[in-house]
């Protein structure tokens, strides 16, 4: 061997040995985590930690451990008390809601929760939250009645109020009145929840630690309601945007929970003895929103033609692949939920190219391009839009599919002249009036007189059974006027370590009442 080659060989051998020496103990050290820490791999960095101003699911997932609302939802999606001690006393005219407050509740800064804090927080909610702002015009007053009661008076009866107050996004979070600064976002994140914020390093981690002074509601745990116990010392949320990395991190034991995994990753967990997949039903539904205000899709008959032209089953299959993760379901609420109704969703399955062609002719369509906005940022939406494009073209429509990044789509959809349809998705909401397309100011701008009447009747109704009937009437309007196409239901795949005990699958995963076994 020549001297030059020999010296190179020696160097390479040395480097290999050094690398092995460094690598070997690393995994052993890093695979271990303190047993009281649960590391949750999330899809990214939340835009804020103030749950009032935004309706982001990621914000809800994290902040629901820190902030609490007067009410929340139980396992059957019924409103149940959280910071309130009972359901409100509603006046005979249906306009006044007296909220009785729990006593002995303390904020993370050690101060006691008072009726004044609650009133200030509700006022803030009406100014900052998209949900609160939607109710604000109907609110006459929010007042402290006595040290343990706050009364909200409406100008007219509005049944969804309690559900709005129970939501964890755009949340009516109760905070000390000292941190409330009009409609400005929070600068201090002080709540009453079982966990308090220890540290937020953007793009690295959000550390929530057990709040020892937590006062739990009573009663058996049910959904988000009932008793809450912080059995885990620290819940640490880490942004891991790459789904394959979230899966690998679960399999390697670096994370104890990973959210929003692609359905095709399910097979990776089948041979694992330490990780179990979690399928969350109901979770959400994709929507093809149409512009009912301006342009070619403002024609109701043409929207009906589009509904007849597309095949939702094909779109769902393209979007999610594995039938375990979706259902081609036209009812806005899926089977097993209180507002499920298949009969009023009949047009969902009546589609055919022939019917589409007839409706297209009746609508007077002359081949104007239908501008459909979509984004690759949500892969399933992009795949669905490709299928919809092909189906619409096969039915004789001219389609201009515009592939945009999500931020551009969000901006462009505010311009009524810039688009005819766009793809988005809606997370499951327990109260129908929270569905965005029912809001006339939401892009798509569905606002016919008949829809307004149907929605008003639904929102006024207090009896649960009659309310279901009113919802069916509203869903009928949805399928008559076709402001959007509900493509189907999809489910969420998450994964948890088998050491995580007591975890309850939920659309917005929570970790109180869960614990890590040894």
């Amino acid at each position: 061997m020549k001297p030059f080659t020999r010296s190179l060989h020696t160097t390479l051998l040395g480097a290999t040995l050094l690398a092995s020496a460094v690598a070997t103990p690393v995994g052993v050290a890093l695979a271990q985590q303190p047993s009281s820490v649960v590391t949750v791999a999330t899809i990214g960095e939340p835009p804020t930690l103030d749950p009032v101003g935004v309706t982001s699911d990621l914000v809800s997932i994290i902040t629901q451990h820190v902030f609490e609302t007067l009410y929340t939802f139980d396992a059957e999606w019924k409103v149940t008390p959280l910071l309130a001690s009972a359901l409100p006393t509603i006046g005979a005219d249906g306009k006044s809601y007296a909220f009785p407050l729990r006593t002995g509740v303390t904020f993370h800064d050690g101060s006691a929760m008072t009726a004044e804090d609650v009133a200030a927080s509700l006022e803030r909610w009406t100014k900052l939250s998209p949900r609160g702002k939607s109710v604000a015009p109907m609110i006459e007053a929010i007042a402290v009645t006595n040290p343990t009661t706050v009364t909200l008076t409406l100008k007219e009866p509005y049944t969804p109020l309690l559900s709005l107050l129970a939501m964890s996004n755009g949340a009516a979070a109760i905070v000390p009145r000292g941190v409330v600064d009009g409609a400005a976002p929070l600068k201090q994140f002080i709540g009453t929840g079982p966990y308090k914020l220890l540290e937020h390093k953007p793009d690295q981690h959000i550390r929530l630690v057990r709040f020892d002074g937590y006062a739990s509601p009573t009663g058996p745990a049910s959904g988000y309601g009932g008793a809450r116990a912080a059995k885990i010392g620290e819940v640490r949320f880490v942004p891991v945007p790459n789904a394959a990395t979230r899966v690998a991190g679960m399999l390697a034991g670096q994370y104890q929970f990973a959210d929003s995994l692609p359905a095709e990753m399910l097979g990776r967990f089948k041979n694992s003895t330490s990780v179990k997949p979690v399928i969350v039903k109901p979770f959400g539904f994709p929507l093809m929103i149409m512009n009912t205000k301006t342009g070619v899709m403002a024609n109701q008959t043409l929207r009906q033609a589009v509904l007849a032209a597309v095949g939702p089953s094909d779109m769902m299959l393209a979007g999610f692949g594995d039938p375990a993760f979706f259902a081609a379901e036209g009812s806005i609420y899926s089977q097993g939920t209180p507002y499920y109704d298949a009969a009023s969703a009949k047009p969902y399955r009546e589609g055919s190219p022939k019917k589409a062609a007839e409706l297209r002719k009746t609508a007077g369509y002359k081949g104007e391009p239908i501008r459909i906005m979509t984004s690759t940022q949500y892969d399933f939406l992009y795949k669905m839009s490709l299928v919809a494009q092909a189906q619409l073209q096969a039915a004789g429509f001219t389609v201009d599919l515009q592939v945009l990044d999500w931020a551009t789509l969000l901006q462009k959809r505010g311009d009524e002249k810039a688009w005819d349809a766009f793809f988005t998705y809606h997370t499951f909401v327990p109260e129908p009036s929270l569905i965005t397309v029912l809001n006339p100011s939401y892009p798509g701008w569905w606002d016919s007189a008949e829809k307004r009447d149907a929605l008003a009747a639904f929102n006024r109704e207090t009896d649960a059974n009659t309310r279901k009937d009113k919802w069916v009437a509203l869903q009928n309007r949805f399928y008559t006027e076709v402001p959007s196409i509900k493509v189907g239901d999809f489910y969420n795949l998450a994964a948890a370590t088998d050491k995580l005990k007591g975890y309850t699958p939920a659309p917005w995963p929570f970790f109180w009442n869960a614990e890590l076994s040894n």
């Binding site: 890093l30 309706t55 953007p202 793009d203 790459n242 100011s441």
Partner: protein, 313 residues
């Protein structure tokens, strides 16, 4: 030398001013709205308009630009719309990771590329050379995200030697953080080593055919001395250039690797800022990165004089 450095630094100021203006314009010209992203998909146009007002995004562009220039003049990069902290702080928080990752991956690229490049040139046309060229082609062709995912599968999941992702728990020591960077540095270093290998080989081949190398061999010097002492030093200028450029590109260009390994580096910060249209972060980060880029190039130019005494400034 002093005059040369001063002149280059003055030029750097001009470059950064141009970068500031161009980035400001491009960020605003591209469609998308930070207010819409922040409020989420359920937000109505009224909500978005209200937030735009609070963020000052409803002011005329020239007014926003003047505010931005005034901030730069006061060495203030502004406040991030999303991160709830100054841009300078957000960059500082990510600088340690980015600096270490760049250093480690460049070291790996150099450790692989330079010796094999030299060996390949010294054994031109033989099986060692052919193999090295083949491996270099392969390494340059394989995307770093694939290398990253493969390394994760085999060295973090199947054999739990390294962590899958992240920069370590909050109380991690520097050594533990360095261990988190081993796989990303390898994933970044391998494709870049191919570039350095090719440059080293080409540069060495040029030098090895020179008369003085032939003379050195004729004098009976050992091949190791001829290659490492006489030829390598003269071949170093192009090699240094490519190493400098590689390091500069990695500072903000390790985006894919940072995403795969869930690393909160500068590249990730810039991409997140672009996706969220966090204008102050886009502007501030690109300004700083362009400054570092120019400084690295200046350092490489100064190093020329160290490796080659004929170079004078």
């Amino acid at each position: 030398m002093f005059v040369y450095v001063a002149r280059r630094l003055a030029g750097m100021m001009l470059v950064m001013l141009i970068v500031a203006a161009v980035v400001f314009v491009i960020a605003r010209v591209v469609p998308g709205d930070p207010a819409a992203v922040m409020l989420g998909s359920s937000a109505t146009p009224d909500d978005i308009a209200a937030l735009r007002g609070r963020l000052g995004l409803d002011q005329p562009l020239y007014s926003q630009f003047l505010i931005y220039l005034s901030q730069i003049a006061h060495f203030d990069l502004g406040q991030s719309i999303f991160l709830n902290r100054p841009v300078a702080q957000a960059l500082a928080e990510r600088s340690e990771l980015t600096a270490l990752l760049t250093l480690m991956s460049v070291s790996i690229a150099v450790a692989i590329g330079v010796p094999i490049g030299i060996l390949s040139a010294a054994m031109r046309g033989r099986w060692v050379d052919q193999t090295a060229i083949g491996i270099a082609m392969l390494a340059a062709s394989v995307p770093s995200f694939w290398i990253g995912l493969t390394l994760i599968k085999y060295l973090a999941v199947d054999l739990p030697w390294f962590p899958v992702a992240g920069y370590g728990p909050p109380d991690a020591s520097l050594l533990e953080r360095l261990r988190h960077l081993v796989l990303p540095a390898v994933a970044l270093g391998i494709p870049n080593s191919a570039l350095i290998l090719r440059f080293t080989r080409t540069s060495m081949l040029d030098v090895l055919s020179d008369d003085y190398v032939r003379t050195a061999r004729a004098k009976g010097l050992s091949p190791l001395v001829v290659v490492l002492k006489h030829a390598l030093r003269n071949a170093m200028i192009p090699i240094l250039t490519v190493i400098g450029l590689t390091a500069a590109v990695m500072i903000a260009g390790a985006i894919v690797t940072e995403t795969v390994f869930g690393l909160p580096g500068v590249g990730n910060l810039i991409v997140s800022a672009v996706l969220r249209r966090d204008y102050p972060v886009i502007q501030g980060a690109l300004l700083v990165v362009s400054g570092i880029y120019v400084l690295i190039n200046l350092s490489v130019d100064l190093l020329y004089a160290v490796v080659d005494p004929r170079v004078r400034y």
